[in-house]
Symmetry: C2
Subunit: 377 residues, 2 copies
């Protein structure tokens, strides 16, 4: 035994108020659910819970897609699951980039052997449907269209209905990132004609991070089944994952599902169904308005135009004379308050203040305004 | 709103005794840790916990490898992370197959564009070093060697030190699956000269499923850095993951880590360090002997020869005249006891009785013997 046992104590995390770009505050009810006794991933009781989770996710996504389930990994795995299954080597993919996560989509396309056609918009602006229309006109052979509904890096919301309609008209499948939108603003998979979408557990669902809800429509499944090349990832291959999650016939072992985190997601979705989607959307909207009024009263300006502004992710310019890192360190140390830094080209220029899920409440709005005011000195 | 809110209640799992191939029983102390308040993945307090977790994992793996960390996904993602990073298209990979998980390694090699050379042994037998030696003699250009230390599908333990030494002599890197061995029997990464290894959280560490501890040595990292082609997975690309987990310089955002499950893993590793590896190995050994004596007294026979038998996973032939599915259903319904079914060629022929982590205790041994006796009725 060359390496001795380290003397490390149990970890006692501080109690923070989470108003960054996720994770958001997790209600005690969800934490309690996660601490219930672990059972096996093939246990009949677990199977029942899996089916309930799929039903609850169909409600959250507003879809009748049978293939709606939680991927056993964070949102990035949900994203990659969409691309590795739907993109075949040589496929042309129109990808909209107006922030970090559109850029990540391009990376995914390249690594699956697809050919990305990039539609760029400014960071902070929504995706421009006219540019997408032009991209399809120039690339009539594009097979896939991908965009981020709610850019977590900027706080911009794009018009998913308009964008998906363009792709449908040109015979392309649409992949939508709704990591930050699900549960906070309308996400209407069937009404909009979205073929594949992925989300995250730790944003407006207020669950702990690590699970990615996904949904795939019939046209997407047909493309996966018609593939000439195997899906490059064994773990993410829908043909295999389906054997465990489909609920049709015998349930076959694929991988060991993250049991307790799935208890948490189930509870988060039960809470969403209890509140009702419309009420959840209205709550996010109303808390955003209160936060906006308070920030603007301090002279703080928003990055995103009002029409495309995400209520659950408030991107604001760091006030003149305020040191970014020093202010956020004070917020953490003196107020136990987490807000988000800027990413990429917006690093050091903006703050991202989340009002997601359980964090979207009056108490948090008031506390955040008080704390931000204090560190602005 | 076309899909109405479903009326689904909170999930209350039954309390089982978990003696299958994993998950194992999770101690309340670990469940409690998972229910602590969520903090951000870039929070300084979380960073401290990440560093502690890496230190604790180095102890569990008995390695000084700096690149030792928990992958944000189940063991299958840990496996795929090793293969997508280390195997380049065209690389010849010698893979030992003596059960389900060796077969899964072959799938991984194929999907990364590698060329698998398969060394087969019977299901239930350990990997035969002479066959590996012969495979290297016939394939001197093999760059990678991969084997499963403890085959979860059969209960066979292979001689990792001997196997890795052969690979090292032939200039190949060794990838080892120690999902079921870590914490239950000696796993000595540095002493054996293993270049890359992955494990799981839900076996002898007794944590909930969903996290995969991995470790990579300097030779493995050099191969990743010298790649001519990008890693095909964005999520698993070590070059990117390192920016978050390396702890060197500024910690950059890659994906949102599964915060609360990582609290659980940290606690599980603290408990392992408190007990001490040697004590944990001795406990698994001693509980296995008690279970073995009891099962043999009932006339039940083991699948694996004593010399290669895993104490933590007892594969036994289903007694004559006992209906597999009916017996396991009775164990679940009448005794709340989960044991494992056979997989692949052993389906319907064997049971797999786990004594992993917290499940490896006298109370469980006694309870299992009583229950199995009852259903053999």
């Amino acid at each position: 035994m060359s390496i001795p046992a380290p003397a490390i104590a149990s970890f006692q995390p501080p109690r923070r108020t989470l108003m960054g770009p996720g994770p958001s505050d997790v209600p005690q009810r969800i934490l309690d659910a996660m601490a219930r006794p672990t059972i096996g991933h093939l246990d009949p009781a677990f199977t029942t819970m899996m089916e309930e989770t799929k039903t609850l996710l169909r409600y959250a996504f507003q879809t009748e897609n049978k293939l709606t389930f939680p991927v056993s990994g964070p949102g990035s795995v949900g994203m990659e699951s969409c691309f590795v299954n739907l993109v075949e080597p040589g496929d042309k993919v129109i990808v909209c980039v107006n922030g970090v996560f559109g850029g990540r989509m391009v990376e995914n396309v390249k690594r699956t052997g697809g050919v990305p056609v990039i539609v760029e918009d400014a960071w902070g602006a929504p995706v421009d449907p006219a540019k997408v229309e032009a991209a399809f006109a120039a690339n009539p052979d594009a097979k896939i269209f991908a965009f981020v509904h709610a850019e977590t890096s900027t706080g911009a919301l794009s018009d998913a209905a308009a964008l998906a309609a363009i792709a449908r008209r040109h015979g392309a499948l649409t992949i939508m990132d709704c990591v930050t939108s699900l549960g906070g603003v309308p996400v209407l998979i069937d009404e909009w004609g979205i073929d594949a979408a992925y989300s995250g557990s730790q944003k407006c669902l207020s669950c702990t991070p690590g699970i990615s809800p996904v949904t795939f429509g019939e046209r997407a499944i047909a493309k996966v089944k018609a593939r000439k090349t195997p899906v490059q990832s064994w773990f993410m291959d829908l043909n295999l994952v389906l054997g465990y999650w489909s609920g049709e016939g015998k349930r076959t072992y694929h991988h060991t599902a993250p049991i307790n985190p799935l208890y948490g997601l189930h509870e988060a979705l039960v809470m969403l169904a209890e509140e009702g989607l419309e009420n959840a959307w209205a709550r996010h909207r109303s808390m955003h308005e209160k936060l906006r009024d308070g920030l603007e009263a301090m002279g703080i300006q928003f990055v995103v135009d009002e029409a495309a502004r995400l209520p659950q992710l408030n991107s604001v310019y760091i006030p003149d004379g305020v040191d970014d890192a020093a202010a956020r360190t004070r917020l953490i140390n003196e107020f136990n308050l987490e807000i988000g830094a800027g990413l990429g080209v917006l690093a050091g220029k903006i703050w991202r203040i989340g009002l997601m899920g359980y964090s979207a409440k009056q108490e948090n709005v008031d506390y955040c305004l008080k704390a931000v005011k204090a560190v602005m000195g």
